[in-house]
Amino acid sequence: MMPRLEARAEPSAWMSIASPVIAIGLTLVAGAMLLTALGRDPAEALWVYFVSPFTDAYSRAELVVKAVPLALIGAGLAVSFRANVWNIGAAGQYVAGAMAGGLVALGAPEATGTAWYVLYLAAGAAGGIAWAAIPAFLRTRFNANEILVSLMLTYVAVLLLDWAVRGPWRDPLGFGFPQSRDFTQTFHTPVILEGTRLHAGVLIAVIAAVALTLMMDRTLRGFELRVIGAAPRAGAFAGFSQTGAVWFALLVSGGLAGLAGAIEVSATVHQLQPDISAGYGFVAIIAAFLGRLNPAGALFGALILAVSYIGGENAQILLKLPKNVTGIFQGMLLFFLLGCDTLIRYRIVWGRRLAP
C-alpha cells in the first residue's frame, strides 16, 4: 500500500486554510526531533521557542516590533507573487531603503519637524523602488530572470551598506565600530506604547496591508495583476500590459521593502549598521506564503514568524542554542507549507496504483 496523489476535481478551499496550520504542526514535530538530537529536552525547548514570547508584556510588544518589517515586506511580496513576478530580492530593497533614508537622516542632523520624518520615509520607499527598478528594467527590456537579478542585487546592497558604514558614514566617535552616527530625534519613529519599543510603524504596516488587499480584490489594477499571474494569455486578450504588471509588482514590493528598512532603522537601532537586515527580506517570503499570498494575510504570517525570532533569541540565552536554529525552523516552515499546499489541488489516496 503506497500513498499516491490524485488530482481533486476542484481546488480545496478548506485545505488552503488548513495547510498553514498543518505545516506549523509538522514544523513543531520536526523541530522537537531536531532539538532532541541536539540533546535538549524537546518540551522545554519548544516552550522556550514558541510559548515564552507570549509570557510577558514586553515580549509581546517585541513580537509586534519584529512583525512590522515582515508584514510590510510580506504584503508587497504577496502582490508581486500573485502577478507571477518573483521578487526574491526584498532584502536588498530593504537595505537600499534604509540607506536612502540614512542619506536624509545623516545629511540633515539639524533638521526638526514631522515634514523631515515624512521625507525620511519617502526616501526609504524611493530607495527600495530604485533598487527594484533594476530587475524590472532588465526583465522587461532584456527578459532577464527577475529571481536571479533581484537576489544577486541583495548582495550588492548589503556590501554597499557595509562599505558605507566602514567608510564615508562611519561614526567618528564610534570607537572604530562599523556603524553610522545616531539619527537625531527627528528621525525616530515614535513609540506608541510606553515602556516598550512598540512603534507607529505597526499602523503603517496595517494600513498598507489593508489597502493592498482592497486593491487586489476590488480594483481593476488588482484584477489585472491576478489575471496576468494566473493566465498571461488571457491578460493579453483583455488588453492588460504584461510589462506594466512587472513594473508595478516590482516597484510596489520594492517600495514597501524600502519603507520597511527605513522604519526599522528609525524605530530600533537609530543608526546604520551592517547587520540591520536580519534576514527580514527573505523571511517575509514565508510570511507572504503563510498569509496565502493575501496582503492582509501577510500580517498574520508576519506575527507567526516573529514568534520564531523572539523564541530564537530566548533559546540563545536560556538554552545556549545557536542562532542558526531559528533559520532552520523558518526554513522547515516554508518547506512543510509548500508541501502541504500540494494538497489544495491533490488528495492523498492509499491503495493500488492507478496511473494518473
Binding site: 489575471v227 494566473a230 488588453g239
Partner: protein, 519 residues
C-alpha cells in the same frame, strides 16, 4: 467461430473512476484482426479514457482486457507496444528541433541511426506515406507530422493501431491518402481502432462501430448500414437540430476590413502572415478554412490586437483604422473576439464567471467605476445574463470557469461576446471539442448575429461547419489568405485543394516522393 474470427483484443466490463465520476462504466467491445473499428461518441463520452487504458496510459478501476483470448494487464505504453499495440495521438509527440529519423530513433530502443533512415524510407514508400527522414520536424506540415507518427508505429509492426481523431489536421485530400493507408494495413491483418466524431468518415472507412455515451456503450453497429443521422442520434441520445439559415440580406457596408496585413512569425516555430487582405460586410458571415497551424492563431492575435502593426489601416472596424491599437480600443470601436483556446486565453480557468466577464468587458461595458473600483453587482448581473441566454450549465452558484465542461465554457465565452451585440465578431474555432448540441447553439447564435447586421468572421478547421454557416469562404495556407468566394461557387474539393496549398493533390505527393528519393 473460426480462429480468424477470434477477437484480437477484447474489453470486458471495463470501468474507470476519476474520484466518484465514472468516465467508463462496464464497457465491453471486441476487435478482430484486420477489422477497422470505429469508436464514436461526443466529447466527454469516455472515448479517450478507454483508449488510454488500452494503450496502458491509464489503469482500469475494474474489468479486464483479453489479448488473443488471454487476460492481460497493460500496465504501461511500453507493455502495450510489446503486445503489438500502436497509437497515434491527436496531439503530436514530436520534438520540433529534431529530424524525422531522430524523433523516430528516440522511441525505438536499441535502434542504430544508420540503418534507420533506410527503413523509414522503405516503410514510407510501401504505405504511400511520403516523408524525408532527414527533414527537421518543425518544417513539416501537420499532415506530414502525422505520417511521422504513423511510420513510428508501423516500424514496430503493430497488430492493433489506435488513431485518435486523425483527420482534424488534414485536408480532405490528405484524409483520402490516410484512408488508403489504413485500408491497406487492415488488409494485411492489422486491426484499426479509429476514434472520431465525423460520421461520414467513419461510414466511409470502418466496418464496425462502438458508440459511447456518458461512459457507457449504447450501441454496436455496422456504420456502413446505418445513416449518419441514426448514429448521431445514438451518440447524443436525442435528435440533433440543424442550424437554420436564411440568405444574407443584400450588400451591407464593410464593417471589418483587413488590408495588406503582414507580420513576422512570433516565434521560431510560428507562422508569418503575408499580405493578408479581407473585407467582411455587415449582415454576412465569412469563414476562413485551413488545416491547423497555417497562421490562424497569428491572424487571430493580429485581429484582437495582441500583436499590432505600425500602420492603423491594416485592420479597420467600421472604417476606423485600429491596426496600431490594443484589444480594448478595438472593442470600443465595436469589435468582439473569441480566441481558440477557451481555458487560459478566452477565460481564466481559476476565476469565476463574473471575473471572466470583467476580463473582456471591463471597459467596453463600463464595469469599472471611478478610481478603478470594480462594479461587482453589474459584473455578476452580466455573468448571470450570459448563463441564462446561452443555457450555460455549471455546478454551484459561483463555479470556476475551469470547472465547466468544454461545451458550456465555449457557450459562455461566445455568449459573453454576442450579448454585447458587437458590430464585428471574430471567432477562432467556435466549436472545437464541443458536443453537437452546444455546437448547434453556438453556430445558430453566430448566424443570427450576422443577420442582425453584424460582420462575423469565423476561422475554423471544420469544413462542414463553414459550409453550414458561412456566406463566403477564404482559405489560409502558410500565412497567406486566398480571396473569399461565395459558398455557392465552392465545394469541399476546391476548398480542400486550397487548404493544401492550391496545387493539385497528385503533384504535391509526387514532389514529396521526389524529395524522399533525392535524400
Amino acid at each position: 467461430m473460426t480462429d480468424a474470427d477470434a477477437p484480437l483484443l477484447e474489453a470486458r466490463g471495463i470501468t474507470r473512476f476519476f474520484g466518484r465520476f465514472a468516465a467508463n462504466r462496464d464497457v465491453s467491445l471486441a476487435i478482430r484482426p484486420g477489422e477497422r473499428h470505429a469508436l464514436l461518441g461526443e466529447n466527454g463520452a469516455g472515448k479517450s479514457t478507454l483508449v488510454k487504458m488500452i494503450y496502458g496510459v491509464l489503469a482500469p478501476s475494474g474489468g479486464e482486457f483479453l489479448w488473443e483470448g488471454q487476460p492481460v494487464a497493460i500496465t504501461s505504453p511500453a507493455a502495450a507496444r510489446a503486445l503489438g499495440i500502436g497509437m497515434v495521438f491527436q496531439h503530436f509527440n514530436l520534438f520540433d528541433a529534431l529530424t524525422v529519423a531522430e524523433n523516430i530513433a528516440l522511441s525505438l530502443r536499441g535502434e542504430r541511426m544508420r540503418g534507420l533512415a533506410a527503413r523509414i524510407t522503405k516503410v514510407s514508400r510501401s504505405y504511400g506515406l511520403a516523408i524525408d527522414p532527414n527533414r527537421a520536424v518543425h518544417s513539416l506540415s501537420a499532415g506530414e507530422k502525422q505520417r511521422v507518427e504513423i511510420i513510428r508505429c508501423l516500424l514496430q509492426n503493430p497488430r492493433l493501431l489506435i488513431m485518435d481523431e486523425p483527420t482534424s489536421v488534414l485536408t480532405p485530400q490528405e484524409a483520402e491518402v490516410l484512408f488508403a493507408t489504413l485500408r491497406r494495413l487492415s488488409g494485411e491483418g492489422c486491426a484499426i481502432l479509429y476514434i472520431s466524431h465525423k460520421l461520414d468518415e467513419v461510414r466511409a472507412l470502418c466496418d464496425a462501430a462502438t458508440v459511447l455515451r456518458a461512459g457507457e456503450v449504447v450501441a454496436q453497429c455496422d456504420p456502413r448500414s446505418a445513416s449518419s443521422a441514426e448514429i448521431a442520434a445514438l451518440m447524443v441520445g436525442r435528435d440533433v437540430a440543424q442550424v437554420g439559415r436564411t440568405a444574407a440580406g443584400g450588400e451591407g457596408p464593410v464593417r471589418l476590413s483587413v488590408r495588406n496585413l503582414s507580420l513576422p512569425a512570433p516565434s521560431q516555430f510560428g507562422t508569418a502572415l503575408h499580405d493578408v487582405s479581407l473585407d467582411v460586410r455587415g449582415g454576412e458571415l465569412v469563414g476562413i478554412a485551413g488545416v491547423a497551424g497555417e497562421g490562424q492563431s497569428e491572424l487571430m492575435q493580429a485581429l484582437i490586437g495582441e500583436r499590432r502593426t505600425p500602420r492603423p489601416e491594416t485592420v479597420s472596424v467600421d472604417g476606423r483604422g485600429v491596426g496600431h491599437l490594443g484589444p480594448d480600443p478595438r472593442r470600443l470601436a465595436g469589435a468582439a473576439f473569441v480566441p481558440e483556446e477557451r481555458a487560459g486565453h478566452a477565460a481564466v480557468p481559476d476565476m469565476g464567471l463574473p471575473d471572466n466577464v470583467l476580463l473582456s468587458h471591463h471597459r467596453v461595458e463600463r464595469l469599472i467605476g471611478p478610481a478603478g473600483w470594480i462594479r461587482r453587482a453589474r459584473t455578476s448581473d452580466w455573468a448571470a445574463r450570459v448563463r441564462e441566454a446561452f443555457d450555460v450549465r455549471a455546478g454551484g452558484a459561483r463555479p470556476r470557469a475551469g470547472a465547466l465542461s468544454g461545451g458550456n465554457l465555449q457557450k459562455f465565452v461566445v455568449g459573453r461576446e454576442i450579448l454585447r451585440d458587437p458590430g464585428v465578431l471574430i471567432v477562432n474555432q467556435p466549436t472545437w471539442g464541443v458536443d453537437p448540441g452546444a455546437a448547434v447553439v453556438i453556430r445558430q447564435a453566430l448566424v443570427d448575429l450576422a443577420r442582425r447586421g453584424a460582420a462575423v468572421l469565423v476561422i475554423s478547421q471544420d469544413l462542414e461547419e463553414l459550409f453550414a454557416i458561412a456566406d463566403r469562404i477564404a482559405v489560409i495556407h502558410a500565412g497567406r489568405l486566398s480571396a473569399a468566394r461565395p459558398v455557392s461557387e465552392l465545394d469541399a474539393e476546391t476548398v480542400g485543394l486550397l487548404m493544401g496549398g492550391a496545387e493539385p493533390g497528385a503533384d504535391r505527393d509526387d514532389r514529396l516522393n521526389a524529395e524522399t528519393v533525392h535524400a
